[in-house]
Structures are given as C-alpha cells and as structure tokens.
Symmetry: C2
Subunit: 341 residues, 2 copies
Amino acid sequence: MKLATYKSGRDGVLVVVSRDLSRAIRVPQIATTLQQAVEAWDTLAPKLDEVYQALNAGTLEGAFALDMDTLHSPLPRTYHWADGSAYLNHVQLVRQARNAEMPETFWTDPLMYQGGGDSFIGPYDDIEAVSEEHGIDFEGEIAVITDDVPMAVTPEQAEGHIKLVMLVNDVSLRGLIPGELAKGFGFFQAKPASSFSPICVTPDELGEAWKEGRVHLPLTVHLNGDKFGEPEAGPDMIFTFPQLVAHAARTRYLGAGAVIGSGTVSNPDPNGGPGKPVSDGGVGYSCLAEVRMVEKILHGDSKTPFMRFGDRVRIEMFDKSGNSIFGAIDQQVVKASPKGS
Amino acid sequence: MKLATYKSGRDGVLVVVSRDLSRAIRVPQIATTLQQAVEAWDTLAPKLDEVYQALNAGTLEGAFALDMDTLHSPLPRTYHWADGSAYLNHVQLVRQARNAEMPETFWTDPLMYQGGGDSFIGPYDDIEAVSEEHGIDFEGEIAVITDDVPMAVTPEQAEGHIKLVMLVNDVSLRGLIPGELAKGFGFFQAKPASSFSPICVTPDELGEAWKEGRVHLPLTVHLNGDKFGEPEAGPDMIFTFPQLVAHAARTRYLGAGAVIGSGTVSNPDPNGGPGKPVSDGGVGYSCLAEVRMVEKILHGDSKTPFMRFGDRVRIEMFDKSGNSIFGAIDQQVVKASPKGS
C-alpha cells in the first residue's frame, strides 16, 4: 500500500496512491490524516488496503491524477522524530577525517539523536537557510513510521510496529555541528527541518528488497542534475530498523506516528577504503560531508563546497524494474525569508 | 488565564480553570484541545479569557468542581519539546564534580537539548522506569508554550510568542547520561517522558513575578513528604525564556505548541559556594544530582541515593500569598510494566 498527504492546513489530507504513482484518492470515510491512520492502524490499514487494491485495478470511482507538486511530507509534523546513524562507514569517515578512533561500542550501541518534528518541509519545498556560512548539506536516508510502541520492546517485537517506510532529506548545517557537539548536548540548531519523500509505503511494497529489517536497494542522489551517489542501502546498515526502534523505546513509550531514521546511507569502497565518487566509478555519496571527508583523507583537503543558495538536491529510490517507489525529494536551497515576527 | 487538560484520548479535553483552581469549565465552542487553542491563539485567547473572567466571577453556568486527579499534562503530547539549561549554577556544579572547567561560551550560548514530545505523562501519573540501576532522578523546572515562531526571531520578538507558563518534571536517568554524552549525540534514553504541572497560565497571571522573561518565585520540591528544595527561579536563570525561544528558532520555525524548558532550577549559596541542603538552612535543590554533586565536592563522595521504586516527588510553586499557581506535580516511581508488545 502507498500513502501520501496533500498540502492542506497543518496536517494535510491523506490520500491512497496507486502503485505506479499515477493516481490517488481521498479516503475521508477511513481517515482524513496519516496521523489518524497510524493511531488506529490495525483497524484502518485493511480498509485502506481495500481502496489501494481497487485503485490499482482501475475500478475505483473518484480517483484522480496524482499531482506530486501538491504533496507534503507524509507526516507534515510528528510528535517524535529520531534519527539513527546506522551506516557506520559514515561514522568511521567522520572520525578518520579528524584523526579520532571509533569506539568499539559503536558496533553494538546505535547512535541516535532526537530531532524536532513540528515543522517538516515538503518534498518540493525550498530549504530555507539563514546563511551559506552554516555549511548547508543534505543527507539522503530511509525512515520508518511506527504505531504505538511499548517501552523496552525487543527488536523482534519492534519489527511488528514498523508500518510504513519513506525517504528523508535530513538537512544538516555542518558549520554549526562542531560547536554544538563540543557543548555536549547533541545536535540542535545544526539539524533544522527535514523533508520526506512524497510517498510512504508499507514494507510489503518493497517485496524482496525488505529483508532483515533493511531496504536492499540503492538510494539515488542528484546534485544540480548530476548523479552524486547511488549507495546501496542494505548490507552496510549495521543496525536494522527494528533494532533502531527498540533503541528509541528502551526507556519510554513511542507514540503512534513516531519516525525513526536510518542515518546517511553510506558504503565503503569494495576494497575496504573510503568510497569513490561516481565520476571515479564509485557509488558516490548521499551527503556532501562524506565526499569532503574522503577528499580530506585522500588529498589532505576538502574541495567540494557545501550547498549554496540556488543549489538543488534530488533523492529517490527505484525498484529493480526502474520504477520510482517513493517519488522524489527535490529541493532547492534558498535564503530564509521569515514571513512574520 | 489558567488552562488545563482533562484526560481523554490522546490529546485530552481543554478546560478553563478558575484562578483559585477550585472550578473548571469545558469550552467546546472555542476549542476542544489546548493544541487547537495555541494554533489559533490570537483569535481564541480573548474568547477563553472571557470565560475565565466569568468563571472567576462565579457567574458561569456549567462550571464544575475541579478534580486535579483527572488532569493530564496541559499538552499530553507536543510536536516540539526542547529543554534549556539556563541555571548555570547547575552546569557549573556538574563540571566541578568531575573536575572540568566550564567554557566561557556557556555564559553567552545556551545549552539546549531536543526531547521527545510524543508520550508525556500526567502530573499524577507514575514514573515508569525499567531499572533502579538507571539512576532515576527528577528535575524541577519551568517551561513555556509558544504559538508559531518564525525562523531567526530576536529575543525581543520571541517574547510575544510566549503564551503560557507551566512547571516540568524533566525525568532523568543519570546512570545513562555519561555513556550517551560520550557518544556525542546528546541525551536520548537518559531523558524518558516528562510530566508537567496540571495547570498552565498566561504570563500575566504571574503579575510582578513575571519580569525580564523569568519567573521570580521559588520552586517548591518535596521528596517523600520532606522539603527538598525551594530554590528561587528568578535571578539565577542566566538566559531568559525569550532568549531560549530565540535560540530554539535560530535555524527553523517552531510550530504552535512548542514547549521550551528552563532547565533545573538551581541557586548557588549566598556566599558563592555550592548551595546548602534545606536541613542546613539552605534553599536546597530541585534534583537529586545536584545534592549528590555538592556532597561530592564538599565531602568527596555522594551519599544521597537516586530514586527507588515507591519514592515520590512533588513539585509546585506558590505566589506571595501562598496560593498554588499551577497545581502540583506529584508522582511516584514504579517499575515499568509495559502493557503490550
């Protein structure tokens, strides 16, 4: 099943989307928002799936052509957004670039930060930034949406609470990170509003690509129209989504609609060294920080700049037949122009 | 104006509460939840205030006796919960107890962490904890609720976005903090669900006690029936609430209903040294970690234990006439018993 949210008010309007992303239909008789749907998922998902099957079969009256431009992130806001850093290759590169060892415990205890869920931006919305000096970067990731998760669940129990999968652009302000990490309280200003793919899908939509709690497909990233990365999201994800959800719920309940991210998708080079850019025959990267770290490790200095106002990033994922699964995140960076005071 | 939320479903039911906390009335003709009220505050607050005036005057039909036990936290869940650490005396003690200097920048750049807003517990709900070994602690604090805050507001602009004030128990698992801080991503499992005072109030309800963006009254904390602290919440709050809100909004918009906390209320001793316990004639503390740090600094070792299952904490604030402003947070710690899987 594929779901999306039309822009309308603070929480938008839930629509069921056809598998090929061509058509959609509103479902007010079932739920008006995705938040409502995940709050009563066990009851409502079978009803939504009936609509989905009829929509795919072309037997549904009231369906209309899907206009991607009118979509918001599937959850325009959520009560819980936490992002892991499960691709340890990325973490190792960060450490290596500043000559720091990676603690052994990082292989057994996931990194995760708490983000703000109140003002997600849509998949085609501009990324508003106060200053280019903040080191504006994208991070291509995968995320899951849960229903209500009890405290202290095991990863095995957590798997059943994963209801939907989508893509994320975890916008990061690299220039603010060192100062915030030095303060010891984690990221805050360095992690402004994230955006998500226009479509979220139930894990079964991924077929064989959803196994062992991971998505085994490449994530395709373009920067200003050029392919920047196509890293494989599967095997290098050291912690599975069920493990990340269990980590998040270790000392508290997670409310329905909790969004848990994978962290930046990242692959080492097949020879074990830092991954190569696409232009050198590698799979590239899903964030600028990573190419900059690789440049620093290999050449002593980073030459790729962070994003400037006007730069555009596109993040998407295709199935084995080349069909877009989630639609694309496609966003331009602009100078912030707050609308009020 | 004073507002509260009756327990009912995920977001409860908004009630207007009389100044003396004796009576309440539902206001479905204005808003059914506090979240709805803050989302359209400029329009709805005057209508809520009309009800409040009539309720205080005793001229309102439909009012009923307020039963504190049925109240949830004013916002049972929120899209944005961020907690500052504005009482730098607390931060200095933390550092002193582990022989670390406090960076000079801490006086100009607030500490703030992002918390999870999806599953707040009510003011009388049990604090469910997985293990006493986690070092269960309370933190008595003050928090504000904002409406929509534009990106990059100044503190002067931020002040107008502060709509409501309440108390917080920022439950902390001290045993998990060192490990999480060492990982560099900030608090996560160490900060389980918080609870808030049953009543939230508009700043004008605080009269002269609300000045320069701070609450100039003592916060009263009891542990198992004994007075544990009565620290003054005013002058030692180094960053004002408007400054904390502006800090939170530096690189993003804050959605209506954002909750921004002050951090643990903490006073140094008048002689400039670590604050004394109530039993030694001091104002005491609003968290156990602080008495333990003072014990360590003065005597080389902490003797006060963290909370055990069955221990109870009570946090409240009285006006100059001795009337409770916000009602009390009054909670017992129990062993977690998750209800499902």
